[in-house]
Symmetry: C2
Amino acid sequence: MSAEVVPLPRKRPTLDPMLALTAPGMNSVNAVILDRMQSEIPLIPALAGHLISGGGKRLRPMLTLAGAELVGYTGNRHHKLAAAVEFIHTATLLHDDVVDGSDLRRGKAAANIIFGNPATVLVGDYLFSRAFELMTEDGSLKVLKILSGASAIIAEGEVDQLTAQRQIETSEERYLNIIGAKTAALFAAASRISAVVAECDDAQERALDEYGRNLGVAFQLVDDAIDYDSEAAEMGKDQGDDFREGKMTLPVILAYSRGTEAERKFWKAAISGTQSDDAALQEAIALIAKYDGVETTRERAQHFAHRAIDAISIFPDSTARQAMAEAAHFAVARGY
Amino acid sequence: MSAEVVPLPRKRPTLDPMLALTAPGMNSVNAVILDRMQSEIPLIPALAGHLISGGGKRLRPMLTLAGAELVGYTGNRHHKLAAAVEFIHTATLLHDDVVDGSDLRRGKAAANIIFGNPATVLVGDYLFSRAFELMTEDGSLKVLKILSGASAIIAEGEVDQLTAQRQIETSEERYLNIIGAKTAALFAAASRISAVVAECDDAQERALDEYGRNLGVAFQLVDDAIDYDSEAAEMGKDQGDDFREGKMTLPVILAYSRGTEAERKFWKAAISGTQSDDAALQEAIALIAKYDGVETTRERAQHFAHRAIDAISIFPDSTARQAMAEAAHFAVARGY
């Protein structure tokens, strides 16, 4: 990692201001989450709780709360809606674990390993249904439209990612479309609905959507970079997961397009799965380093982080805006 | 099957009056289904279409249309909502195929066999999201509440069924709770929402809910009976699926509770999976026949079919009411 390429603020950016901003609201959101993941069927809270209490950052509901602070919303409707957002996210994580056949999630055994694929799929469905119950209780058709639309787009993005898997010819454009759908759509929706409950004007609603969307892309880019960054282990996920699954992410796309003919042969074998053992992973990490794949991916993330920050510049300066801006810097810098 | 135990109407009951009643509306519903299962990601309509065009009876949307006829609703809001109901059902079927590891569905290769578990899970999620988009477009929070609630209950029922799997001590009571959740809740909701769009009074809404709920229980009971009825092959599903999966259904519960100690030993081994080969399946079918397990299950179904018919007796007699009553008789008699 070169400080020239990705100039960090003097003080390393953290999520702390965002955490401080949203802490009181997050207590309410967490109470809703705990209450609504219950069921008379004991396996449901056991399985849901494994993931929900598994140390996720709860970034998405945090975006809803931060947006509400930014626009000066003083009600509490957004607590239920933020919980709904987290349920949608949790449902997709559970289904992802089944789809990817993951062993680890956030450094712990994935739910499907402990509880099996069948229960993991069904509890995902349960949480998804609960999310829509929460939204329906709130009663905003606009919020329902935003979040049902985002859910459909997430599923489309996941299917598209599946189609691109093991396809070495995947372009950066297509990759950006995939992460825009599978990750950024929910960030955008989570952020946007704060403007909806606060009855902001269209421009403010769009601004919060764009903040979330660009932040989501930045986060996913850096997530994908970390999987090939030997210095990073922050994510608690098995490093090399993406590689073994033949998932096409930007560091690979860059190293492939910048590589020699011989190197491209290696990538074809690796991504197709014919050569993806630990030695191949080390070779992949070395080739990505050779072509600055991790740094370039962070540069791209920086671009989206700046767009996120500019999107909310229409709002007056405030503690909330500063916290949200630092969260965008953090998205780029984390894992260093 | 003994005609004494389950007295059938002189003419064998069919679904034909129900099909005739709902045919015009079903054309509109099918158009919505085809339109809304599309996506720019080609795998989505390919996979969804495999199941959707796979010859299902589309009973659930038919209930919404029949209910609308019964109460004299003349609008067209229920077409989108009936499509949403079918999408929820299709999503659960796709996820069920993954959960059960099914090879066949409606006599064809199951989606997961052709497209793999990952895509099958994700396309289920897509259809589920689309269902909520359709409901949101309609804009009735009451319908959203009914269908999001039903979806959560379906997932709970499926998890409960999973928990009861391979548990020979499962009671009839628990079994009825499971099918009430996993099957009847959506039948009830599909039927009920016709009264909601038609702005019926509470009693009429409840009547349609009860019609659907009891019909759903009757259908599921007979479905479960057919899996052990050597004379029946109407369902196009692998006979013996429930047996091999150690699923606890009423014919097994009855044969176990009515059986000798030696027979109970057999059932324990069979349901636990230690002895569930084809010879064991034949033995199971013979034991269920010995204790009238299939006939008794149909008798139970008959009880629920009668309750369904009585529930709609508050409405004046009409072609719609007669068609719905015959559908309830059909639920009991089919597979003969």
